[in-house]
């Protein structure tokens, strides 16, 4: 998967390219608008991450350039979160936007979603280590033992299983499980995860839900 990062701020560009590189993507970095134009015209990419404020051509112009050529997904990075900027970006054909400062986990999640493109198929069964979930019958078992989960706990576990191995940020979890699209400074998500762990992990020797301090939570079999 080839990703083009258009970003003039050196440090941001560096960590983005390193981070995405470590996640297994082939990354090219353009430091200004003309550089980016050259890349867009010469090479094929699977995703373009575009900063709005750029020397040379700005993000809007580049986006129009991209849209004249292909339907490659474009993720906007913007320091301005005013609604009209988001709307303008999306109207011009951007697929998603992130407001600076964003967490890298968040960016990675968005990149994966964009690259997946086709809506994820609703899965009916999950299995990780000795944990099994039957979505339709709303049954969760571990070591064959039935776990009694509340609706929210079930939804949270389903999200973790669907995104197995991915670090999920608190805001992402809040928006997916409770449709709360605001950054709350409460520890609602921590509490919910702790309660889920008490049922899913605590009674069993193998722990599946892990805390990535400062980033979020991930469900995976690390044994």
């Amino acid at each position: 998967m080839r990703i083009l990062i258009v970003e003039d701020e050196q440090k941001t560009a560096d960590y983005l390219s390193r981070g995405l590189g470590e996640s297994g993507y082939a990354v090219e970095v353009a430091r200004d608008g003309y550089d980016a134009q050259h890349y867009i015209e010469e090479c094929e990419f699977d995703l373009i991450i575009l900063d709005v404020m750029l020397p040379g051509l700005d993000g809007w112009q580049l986006l129009q350039l991209v849209r004249q050529r292909s339907q490659v997904p474009v993720l906007f990075l913007t320091a301005r979160d005013a609604v009209e900027y988001r709307v303008k970006g999306l109207e011009l054909g951007a697929d998603d936007y992130l407001v600076k400062p964003f967490s890298f986990v968040e960016l990675l999640a968005r990149v994966r979603t964009l690259l997946r493109r086709s809506p994820p198929r609703e899965r009916e069964h999950f299995r990780v280590a000795d944990l099994a979930m039957d979505v339709l019958r709303r049954r969760v078992t571990r070591q064959g033992e039935r776990l009694a989960l509340t609706n929210k706990e079930f939804a949270l576990l389903e999200l973790f299983l669907d995104r197995e191995g991915e670090v999920l940020s608190r805001t992402y979890i809040a928006s997916r499980v409770w449709q709360m699209n605001f950054d709350s400074d409460t520890n609602v998500v921590e509490v919910a995860v702790r309660r889920l762990r008490a049922k899913v992990d605590d009674p069993f020797p193998t722990k599946l839900i892990h805390t990535e301090r400062g980033m979020g939570y991930v469900l995976e079999d690390r044994s």
Partner: protein, 457 residues
């Protein structure tokens, strides 16, 4: 023209204009009255002269006799302005007094006395009538040259013009003086306001002994100064608080990172420092978000859409969200809300979330949190009630201020840095509503969000 920008000049010009109009109309009226009066008297005089002439003709045996004694009537007429003709039916002059050699006019015969101005360019007034003398029609014509009269009127006109111009000029001068004098309080007010600068917003304009208008203006300006002072001191207080709040995480970041770099550490230690740093960054980021949020909702130009929001639905969603936290503390969230308001759903949700989180944070364990609505006239009151430590009256008035904390020692990483309730107030005000708090040992603490039901914003 810059001079026209002066209020005194404008007023004096207006004075001058008004005086000119007034003096002009009076002058015109007087002039015309006089002219009419003089003309009437002249006509009377000519008429009298005709009558006397007629009498003379009646007394005399014949015209011929009169003709021989011209001195008689020449003396009688007396001056060089007078004209007199006696004409027969063919217009032949029988008797003539005509010192200025005016040509003999041709006039129609008329039994009654008629008046007319002399045709052509000669300025004279004529009166004539026709009578029978020995079976012969005779036309008597008496006249008066108007030169003298016109000269007199011209002199009068000139005087009027001079009076008019002088009057207007005097009105301008007097008006200017009076305006300057009258506007003196305004000048004093300007001097007073000039003395107030940003460091002396506590100064007020002195209003004693000024006229009513100036008094009212000064009071208005004083009230404005009061608001500015309040806003300004709030702003500087906010800036100081903000700098303090931002410095705390920055100090942690800087100190901790520098300390770690002083010597080689184990990987685990590096990791721990980085993880701790992330928490500080998140705290900074949240604070900036909150400040931006406040700036946006407080900006009058911000364009945020409104929709009809079902309160019960919204509170149910929030209760669902906070349920885990509440249960953890052995508490319940009781939702007794109903109704709907015209509001921005996201903003309202944020405000309610902050209030519920606040109630959870400060309420006593094991006590319920009740959320209920009350309809009062055109308003809907959203109450969030909890049992917990009483907020002191001093704190009650300040809990909605930015960065204000009842307990100065409590400033956890998790908190929004004392901005949560400020955001609630800002959201309430954006909706043209309000927020209140009551706290008491018996009844517990209640935060109330007041929103108008039919806001036509």
């Amino acid at each position: 023209m810059p001079a026209l920008n002066s209020l005194a000049t404008r007023l004096s010009l207006l004075f001058a204009l008004v005086s000119t109009l007034l003096l002009g109309s009076i002058g015109t009226y007087l002039y015309h009255s006089l002219t009419r009066e003089i003309a009437w008297r002249d006509d009377q005089m000519l008429h009298g002269r005709l009558e006397r002439m007629e009498a003379l003709l009646d007394d005399s045996e014949s015209i011929a006799m009169l003709h021989q004694r011209p001195q008689l009537y020449a003396n009688m007429l007396g001056n060089r302005d007078s004209l007199l003709w006696v004409l027969d039916s063919e217009g032949k002059v029988l008797i003539e007094v005509n010192p200025s050699n005016v040509p003999v006019p041709t006039l129609p015969m008329t039994p009654s006395v008629r008046f007319s101005d002399m045709p052509e360019s000669i300025q004279a007034r004529l009166a004539w009538h026709t009578l029978e003398q020995n079976g012969q029609p005779l036309t008597l014509v008496a006249g008066k040259l108007l030169n003298e009269r016109n000269q007199m009127l011209a002199a009068y006109r000139l005087k009027l013009w001079v009076a008019l111009v002088t009057g207007a000029f005097l009105a301008f001068l007097l008006g200017w003086g009076v305006s300057r004098q009258g506007l003196q309080p305004l000048r004093r007010l300007a001097e007073q306001t000039n003395r107030i600068d940003i460091r002396q917003l506590d100064r007020r304009l002195n209003v004693t002994g000024e006229t009513e208008e100036i008094n009212r203006l000064s009071q208005g300006l004083n009230r404005m100064l009061g608001r500015l002072e309040e806003g300004f001191s709030q702003l500087s207080r906010h800036s100081a608080d903000m700098a303090h709040e931002l410095r705390t995480p920055l100090t942690n970041l800087l100190g901790q990172t520098q300390h770690t770099l002083r010597r080689e550490r184990s990987n685990l230690e590096y990791r721990q420092v980085l993880e701790s740093n992330i928490e500080e960054y998140e705290r900074l980021s949240r604070m900036i978000d909150s400040l931006l949020f406040l700036a946006r909702t407080e900006s009058p130009s911000s364009d945020i859409s409104k929709e009809r929001v079902d309160i019960s639905e919204l509170v149910t969603q929030l209760c669902d969200y906070f349920e885990g936290m509440a249960e953890d503390d052995n508490r319940t969230l009781i939702n007794h809300t109903s109704g709907s308001v015209l509001a921005n759903c996201d903003l309202l949700r944020t405000a309610l979330a902050n209030l519920i989180a606040n109630a959870l944070r400060h309420g006593r364990s094991g006590t319920p949190i009740r959320i209920y609505t009350k309809n009062v006239e055109n308003q809907i009151e959203l109450h969030i009630h909890n049992h917990g430590p009483v907020i002191s009256p001093d704190d009650l008035s300040r809990v909605f201020e930015r960065f204000y904390r009842c307990d100065p020692a409590r400033s956890g990483v998790a908190g929004s840095g004392g901005l949560g309730l400020a955001i609630v107030r800002s959201i309430a005000q954006w909706h043209k509503g309000d927020v209140r708090v009551e706290s008491d040992v018996e009844k517990g603490t209640t935060f109330t969000l007041l929103l108008s039901i039919n806001d036509t914003h």
